[in-house]
Amino acid sequence: MFKGLQGALSSLGHRVIEGIWRIGAGARLFSYICFYLPEIFKRPRLIVREIFSTGVLSLLIIIVSAFFVGMVLGLQGYNTLQKYGSSESIGVLVALSLVRELGPVVTALLFAGRAGTAITAEIGLMKATEQLSAMEMMAVSPVARVIAPRFWAGVISMPILAALFSMVGVLGGYFVAVPIVGVDSGAFWSQMQASVDFRDDIVNGVMKSLVFGVVCTMIALFEGYDAPPTAEGVSRATTRTVVNSSLAVLGLDFILTALMIGA
């Protein structure tokens, strides 16, 4: 009994210490990335290539998901709003939900699954096959050459993807509300235009997706960089990327929303 308790306590302590250690190691990696910032602007081609593989290749899943999310919003919103006789406000509902919440959050979740896992697996494998070591021996910093470009690419891609998500989502909502359900097209757009505020809604949404971009990309990079150099190590790291990014996004979303509404 006592032994079991002691074991449980010590394993809890071990986990806590390891968690703190990993946060520290992640912060150190982040500081190196910032340190190599000037290096990156000397060679923008590296970032462009990474924007292609993280951002552009995520386009399809983002657009398709956004369209469906928008259509569902249109249906559900219409269903509820018409009970109060205000089905013209459907445009407002769709746009606000997307721009303030669903755009940044769902994009970040999809990004973690599509681009984050790819980043983690790629970097973990590069480490396992000594490619990062070889780079170091050639006096090329792997942080400057491999990690930093992927980081900035992720940070740049995320807000753009989120904006695209919101845009396509609105189109999805329009597609359901106007041609299918029969809401007046003019009312759909004009109410939306009147109620969506640039600073309160759009800027806040973009800020959220920027934060998510930093966090998701950083988690993916760190997990890959820190993965044990084995097949099992890389596969676990990939799982952790998805789990940790999703939790971080949802948790941060609550905090950011509270701050933005409070402010």
Partner: protein
């Protein structure tokens, strides 16, 4: 300027407490090809990593061109590494780049040469390892031996002063083996470089190196020119040169007594 480009002084190093090197002393004179030989797991790869500054010694130091490696700042370390080229035991080619781009990588990173000159350099190196025709292949399309030859071309792409080869002969057929021996020797002499060759291929190695260190149990157990060692009657040298399993060089990773472990298995 010292005559030795690399000096290892009383170096001790261990992973997780278990000491792997226990006071190693070696010198690598400029212009020579020096072999480090020892059994599998005797810490040869680790020794190369210590020279390259990827690991720090517990005791002692490694000096490269007069500078203590583990006391360098990050910048200093990178400056030192630009004098070195290393062939990794498993090649470590960049899997997202073609053969050509792999060899071009260090050139592009460290120089601003125009593309036509990069091309000339890369072709020269690929031709030397007999793989000019494979330049457009990706690393996954190469055989193990071809990959190592590409890695070799990449290691010497910038004509380094110190070239470290980790098992350059592993996975090569007898013809490529002879070619690689000649290549190591001629690159060394043409560049005026110093080569450190880690290997356990006694017969092949003795034909072209200038000096040999034998490591075992964490210390240098024998050293000398190939002639001296061939005629040596020291037991470890004899064991190694003639490939005998029994002798002072242990074949087994440190373990409890085999008989006792087998019997314990029956008790459980």
């Amino acid at each position: 300027m010292s005559d030795n480009i690399v000096e290892i002084d009383n170096l001790s190093f261990g992973y997780k407490g278990r000491l792997l090197h226990k006071g190693i002393n070696m010198v690598f004179p400029r212009g020579k090809v020096v072999a480090i030989m020892g059994g599998s797991g005797s810490g040869k790869t680790t020794l190369l990593r210590l020279i390259g500054g990827q690991l720090n010694p517990n005791v002692g130091e490694v000096r490269v061109d007069g500078d203590v490696v583990h006391k360098q700042s990050l910048d200093g370390l990178y400056q030192l590494r630009r004098k070195m080229g290393m062939l990794f035991q498993f090649g470590a080619l960049f899997t997202d780049l073609s053969v050509y781009e792999n060899v071009a990588f260090p050139i592009r990173e460290h120089t601003d040469l125009p593309e036509s000159m990069v091309r000339d350099f890369v072709m020269l190196k690929l031709n030397a390892v007999g793989l000019r025709g494979a330049r457009n292949l990706m690393p996954t399309e190469l055989s193990g031996g071809m990959a190592r030859r590409v890695a070799l071309a990449r290691a010497v792409a910038l004509d380094p002063q110190i070239i470290m080869y980790d098992e350059p002969f592993a996975g090569l057929d007898p013809i490529s083996m002879g070619v690689v021996c000649n290549l190591i020797r001629s690159l060394n002499d043409a560049l005026g470089a110093t080569s450190i060759v880690v290997t356990h291929d006694v017969h092949e190695t003795f034909t072209f190196v200038d000096y040999v260190y034998f490591v075992s149990g964490g210390v240098v157990v024998a050293e000398g020119t190939p002639e001296e060692l061939t005629n040596s009657d020291k037991p470890f040298v004899h064991q190694f040169v003639h490939g005998e399993a029994d002798g002072p060089v242990p074949f087994h990773y440190p373990a409890p007594d085999y008989k006792r472990e087998v019997l314990r298995g029956h008790d459980v």
